[in-house]
Symmetry: C2
Subunit: 347 residues, 2 copies
């Protein structure tokens, strides 16, 4: 298993990215391809380069945070994002992870890897954990701001496979995020999506509301990329706020001979905070492209990168992209129209 890592993107690149990658190489027993400025990688990785199965690919160009995604990809073929994605395409890496410009990572995946046959809109699946050890998958977490009902139906199918494989759930409960539980409530988008999902063979549990997210009512939370992005970041923001509170708590209670700390741990706050910390899950997986691409958070420190690499490994090991392709084929066969988009809406 070889994971290609962009060490040239993210708020704490390259140092934290390299640190996280080295930890991952040791913990997960995987090979790494580090993509970035050769000299910089040598400085930060030092003697690990000899000890661990690490290859360096020098990338003279850098895609910055605010660059226009498509222009960046076309104008910077020697960037870590373009080269890393190409390594996946060529089969030289099993997955690519980047904490850089998300738009550029998505654009590179679309252009270089291409969409799986039958997938119209690849989507970002993000694992969220508001309750300790009970993850759910939010899809789309931000790849497609404006969607049509068939896109959301597609996200549900992509998320279903991912939840089975990576969350290890037998029959994931699929919920449609909506402004009301009732079937008759919602926007044109959610009303029509509800009908598509009802007709599907998925374990569709109906609409769920915002408060159901932390109740873990659904394993796969289906929504458009605009709402998904905002929900994910709202949760992250609160996670950050809680972490701050927790850190202050630790400072106080170490003075108080650890009693308070033990209490915090007892009541589950610690694990709750841990669960809400985005660094725990590491990144979101781009589902629907031919290959494994993990988008790590721009604010990733070493721990987030290590966890993102772990996620990349699990995703690649399971061959999620192949399973998605098979699922679409089998649904296409079963469908009356031969078009996977129509599988759930036979005329």
């Amino acid at each position: 298993m070889i994971i290609a890592v962009d060490v040239d993107g993210g708020d704490y690149a390259p140092k934290e990215i390299i640190k996280g990658a080295l930890k991952a190489a040791q913990e997960y027993k995987i090979g790494l391809i580090l993509l970035g400025k050769k000299e910089v990688i040598h400085v930060h990785a030092g003697h690990y380069l000899k000890k661990l199965p690490i290859e360096i690919v020098h990338c003279p160009q850098t895609v910055t945070f605010n660059e226009h995604a498509v222009e960046a990809i076309k104008g910077k073929p020697q960037s870590a994002i373009v080269i890393g994605t190409s390594l996946v395409k060529q089969g030289k890496a099993d997955a690519f992870i980047s904490a850089g410009n998300t738009g550029a990572v998505l654009a590179a995946a679309f252009f270089i890897l291409g969409k799986i046959d039958g997938v119209e809109r690849p989507a970002l699946g993000a694992i969220i954990t508001t309750r300790p050890h009970i993850p759910s998958l939010l899809i789309d977490a931000g790849a497609n701001a404006e969607c049509r009902p068939n896109h959301l139906d597609e996200f549900a199918h992509l998320g279903n496979i991912y939840a089975k494989q990576v969350l290890g759930l037998e029959n994931p409960r699929i919920g449609l995020l909506n402004n009301g539980e009732e079937e008759a409530k919602g926007t044109k988008l959610t009303l029509e999506t509800h009908q598509l999902l009802k007709k599907s063979k998925l374990n569709f549990i109906g609409n769920i509301e915002g408060h159901d997210i932390s109740l873990n009512k659904a394993d796969v939370i289906v929504t458009d990329g605009f709402t998904g992005n905002i929900v994910l970041k709202t949760l992250e923001g609160l996670g950050d706020a809680l972490l701050k509170v927790r850190k202050v708590g630790h400072a106080i209670d170490s003075a108080a001979h650890l009693r308070g700390r033990a209490l915090l741990a007892d009541v589950g706050l610690g694990s709750m905070v841990k669960g809400m910390d985005f660094e725990e899950c590491g990144g979101a997986c781009l589902l629907g492209v031919k290959g494994t691409i993990i988008v790590a958070h721009g604010r990733s420190h070493a721990r987030a990168i290590k966890n993102a690499i772990g996620l990349a490994k699990r995703t690649a090991e399971k061959g999620v992209d192949k399973l998605i392709a098979e699922d679409i084929k089998s649904r296409t066969k079963a469908g009356t129209e031969g078009d996977p988009k129509n599988v759930n809406t036979p005329v």
Copy 2:
């Protein structure tokens, strides 16, 4: 100041509603009109009916949670929602609050009170507090699931006045909730709204993201009612989860001689949890109709109702609806087209 209270709607009606109303009458020194089943109110309010300035209006009909809003309003003229709203219209009550069927409360407000001249879409403004004592206003919290840019522009103006009057802010920072900070990022709706807000005279600080909500980056968070509803309920759900953790903490630490409890309070978790508890703010205000209407949460207990009544009092005292009407008039005068909807987009 007389507040009309629907004691016939909400998960914990009538008992908790009446309990909260009685507390409010004592704490805020206001008169009450309790709307519901006369006998039931007598049972629960008991001797307070003689001690406090309370009037009872018997409402033989009940609007249930799942009823179609408009049908309920038309078919049940003797319901608390219709009669309570009518009391505001007639000037017999300064405000009406209900924890019942939200759609029906909104419909009654539209039909009976009517929209303020120049307002196309009244919206729900909800006060959210993810940091202790630093509230912000989310608008629209759920009245309009599908919106156009001029609606969001209108919400910003409504929210601006409310934040000035009820949150006591001199020059509220208006933020547009979006899936990216950059001006060029967003959906058609947010991209166009951004341009309208930029041209307005509001203190528009640009786009804000989900994580900015708990950072209190904006005082008024402008969004469509679909996204607003989901964000509000996501926050509420987490607040609930935190409250549970906190309660367990209290049980443990009362055994541990209050030391842990003091710690929790010290680190600010207590007030953070308190802030995230929807019962603290009590309800959302329907802005843009002729009168003061507060929509309380369906799950309201006595404390939430008491606080919702407090909010109704503050809103009515400030004459927010009159100020909104004046603001629209002055913007209409200033505008080149004479149409308030065009004030910020002169041709």
